[in-house]
């Protein structure tokens, strides 16, 4: 009994080493010597354990012999395979360590479970503890990947982080001024090129504010209608429309807004939809899409979130409180204003915060109409935001790219701080909501 536990302990150590090697093999090509011996060691431990299970305990299944076979087959595959696989017109050369990583995980993860099981003494309740690695391994792997993704934004953005850039607007204009030299006119070419992102930051905040201002009343109204009068056919229509709006592709909204902007040219609504601004020289220019219309379309994305939050909040109101209000003769409107909506307020606020994060993070909706943010921020100015800045540095005009390219990751840092802060705030609020008074 003692000996099998020691063998199982060796199995745990070998399997953990094999899993670590597999993780390293996903990024490194130089660990080619390690997988075959590790696989063989895992197979040997599994052989001993399966002998113990079959012969001594008499309760074996086919899993451990299968693992032994798998380890031997894997070693054979890794020996026979060339180091680089290419051909078949595949656009790349696939390195062998990718397969060795996959084979290592497929062998070592079940082997780790069985080794823990026999190390603890093979009681039925040990099976629960021994199965934890199956769930912990992918979770930890992907969390490390997330950590690398987020940390890299900060590491790449830190060297170019500059307060001056953050606090001044982006400017790019070339023009000529006429001065009179005696009787002769003289054109002086002037230009101004300046990297900056204060308009993008302010624009992000304006988008967040406008979007929540538009979507809050509509979202609350939809939520009230669904939760109070949702049993009729109109309620079903509203509910399905909200669901479809939440899950359609954002590109559909973008195309609809773009066609609206194109068709509004020359009409009365041109200033409202396309916008108008004055450039540096003083010429009035027609924009490509205002903050107002952009936030109206973004709020189509946010309304379902707020509606669902409101509905949840009103549903969570204890029946006793509702009946107490109605029982003393309060009309429906009074009950709604003084009992139901105050109760649902934290839920609604959660929805608004998530909606703000959505408005700050979305690019696709404003993709076709946004501008570079040279001419200030206002209701009728050309829409722009930090997230659009990040995308525009990738695919925008060369002149824009040349000036702003070093500050792509700076913008990403600010955007990440805004959106992750908002979602963290929503999380804290949700936590408080679940802990509040829930009736007797």
């Amino acid at each position: 009994m003692k000996a099998i536990r020691i063998v199982a302990l060796i199995g745990v150590i070998v399997s953990v080493a094999a899993l670590l090697t597999a993780c390293a093999s996903f990024t490194m090509n130089t660990l080619e010597a390690l997988p075959p011996p590790l696989l063989l060691a895992v197979g040997a431990v599994m052989l001993v354990l399966s002998h113990h299970a079959w012969v001594i305990r008499g309760s074996g299944r086919l899993a451990m012999p299968f693992l032994v076979t798998l380890s031997i087959v894997s070693v054979v595959i890794l020996r026979v395979y060339p180091e680089y696989m290419y051909g078949y017109n595949i656009h790349g050369i696939i390195h062998r360590s990718l397969f060795s990583a996959i084979l290592l995980i497929a062998t070592a993860l079940p082997a780790l479970c069985y080794s823990i099981f026999y190390m603890l003494g093979a009681r039925p309740k040990d099976q629960d503890i021994s199965r934890y690695p199956i769930f912990i391994f992918p979770t930890v792997l992907i969390l490390v990947a997330y950590g690398m993704l987020v940390v890299q934004v900060f590491l790449k953005g830190a060297p170019n982080f500059d307060w001056a850039v953050i606090t001044r607007p982006f400017l790019f204009q070339h023009w000529s001024e006429i001065t009179w030299n005696g009787e002769w006119p003289q054109w002086i070419r002037r230009s101004i090129e300046q990297a900056g992102m204060v308009n993008h930051i302010l624009g992000t905040f304006l988008l967040m504010g406008l979007t929540s201002a538009i979507s809050l009343p509509i979202g609350v109204g939809v939520g009230v209608y669904i939760s109070e009068y949702g049993k009729s056919w109109t309620g079903a229509v509203v509910r399905s429309a909200i669901t479809v709006l939440r899950s359609i592709s954002v590109i559909i909204l973008a195309m609809s807004m773009f066609s609206l902007v194109l068709s509004s040219t020359g009409t009365v609504f041109s200033d409202l939809i396309r916008g108008i601004y004055t450039d540096i020289v003083g010429t009035r220019q027609v924009g490509r899409g205002t903050f107002l219309i952009a936030s109206a379309f973004i709020s189509l994305l946010v309304i379902p979130v707020i509606a669902r939050a409101t509905e949840e909040g009103i549903r969570s109101l204890p029946r006793e409180i509702y009946e107490a209000s109605v029982g003393i003769g309060a009309p429906a409107g009074y009950t709604l204003l003084h009992v139901q909506l105050p109760w649902a307020f934290p839920n609604i606020l959660t929805g608004v915060l998530l909606g703000c994060a959505e408005a700050a993070g979305t690019v696709t909706v404003i993709l076709f109409v946004a501008g570079t943010g040279e001419y200030g921020v206002g209701l009728l100015n050309n829409v722009t935001s930090l997230s659009y800045l990040i995308f525009n540095i990738k695919y925008g005009l060369v002149s824009f790219n040349k000036i702003m390219a070093p500050y792509q990751f700076t913008a990403a840092i600010i955007l990440l701080l805004i959106t992750m802060g908002l979602s963290a705030g929503a999380l804290v609020l949700k936590h408080k909501v679940t802990r509040r008074f829930r009736g007797a």
Partner: protein
């Protein structure tokens, strides 16, 4: 469940009903306008190309001004490939996260994991797209670097994932799928958690009462009971991945063509959403340059996306109602 009794209170002051109906009508009318607008705008494409061309394999490029053929088979195939990769990566990870939060709980660590997922769900898609350098330097280039990549796309020696400076590499279908998986994991895991919680406690207790342990109960009671909910949550997550433009436009690009070995994910096969973006004519200042036919085809893609979304949504809700019926006591 007990029926909610209707109280006769709305007679004197009916304003909440009228006001909320007026407000609730706004998104409905907006949706109707969007659908009608898409349909009207996609009429020229249907008239000039016909369905046999629109669903055919020929796609003569996004940035060509010549009147070409615009078949959507490459884009549909690209969507399928990207969603498949995202699903293969995100499904096991999200399911194990959900199980760690409910059945195989780790105590305070599970709560921390849940909060962490909540914070991670705030990362916007465009930042994921910006993060492609990590995936490239850590995974794609060491494992797949080869003849498909031009010489200047190979990073200089000593380039690590934290070095400042962007890679010249554009990426591939595989990278788009990986980044989409990162995008949908924070949304899938809580939904899986909900569907695992929907399995009634009485069934699990019955399993425990006859002496089964947690692992046996998970495999034989909880997961089969939660299967419809898990499938519907997966469909919703795939919808989110399908609707995303930023990642695929950044990493895969706008051009579309069927890859030569069909399953070659190292080529770039643009999915529907980024093809539509390209057909409108690029972004920002370039947006108006797309021709009329191209924009009409983009609107037709919007209709296709809408139809797919409606089908997947109704399937998801049918499954949810099935599971609710199944789990009702």
């Amino acid at each position: 469940m007990k029926e909610k009794t209707t109280l006769n209170t709305g007679r004197r002051w009916p304003w909440p009903r009228a006001l909320s109906l007026c407000l609730a009508a706004i998104p409905v009318f907006a949706l109707v306008w969007i659908v009608v607008n898409l349909a009207i705008n996609s009429l020229p494409a249907i008239e000039q190309q016909g369905f046999s061309v629109l669903f055919g394999p020929e796609f003569s490029g996004v940035f060509t001004s010549a009147k070409g053929l615009y078949g959507l088979q490459p884009a549909l195939w690209g969507t399928f490939l990207v969603l498949l990769i995202a699903l293969v990566i995100s499904f096991p990870v999200s399911l194990s996260m959900a199980i760690l939060a409910t059945e195989f709980s780790l105590g305070i660590l599970s709560k921390a994991l849940r909060s962490l997922l909540g914070v991670l769900s705030g990362i916007p898609p465009v930042v994921y797209a910006l993060m492609n350098g990590v995936v490239a330097t850590v995974f794609i280039i060491p494992k797949f670097c080869g003849q498909g990549l031009p010489r200047e796309a190979i990073p200089p020696p000593g380039m690590t994932w934290w070095t400042p400076g962007t890679l010249p590499i554009e990426g591939s279908t595989l990278m788009g799928g990986i980044l989409l998986a990162f995008l949908i994991i924070p949304f899938l895991a809580p939904m899986y958690e909900d569907s695992l919680k929907e399995v009634p406690l009485a069934q699990k207790e019955a399993s425990f009462a006859v002496g089964a342990n947690r692992w046996f109960t998970l495999l034989n009671v909880t997961l089969p009971g939660a299967l419809p909910g898990v499938i519907s949550a997966t469909l919703l997550g795939l919808l989110k991945a399908m609707g995303d433009v930023m990642i695929v436009a950044w990493v895969i690009g706008f051009e579309s063509g069927l890859p030569n070995p069909l399953f070659d994910v190292l080529q770039r096969t643009a999915p529907l959403s980024s093809t539509a973006t390209g057909l409108i004519g690029g972004i920002g200042a370039n947006a108006a340059y797309g021709g009329t036919l191209q924009q009409s085809v983009a609107n037709f893609i919007g209709l296709v996306l809408l139809a797919v979304a409606v089908v997947m949504l109704s399937l998801a809700f049918w499954l949810q109602s099935m599971s609710r019926k199944k789990n009702a006591i």
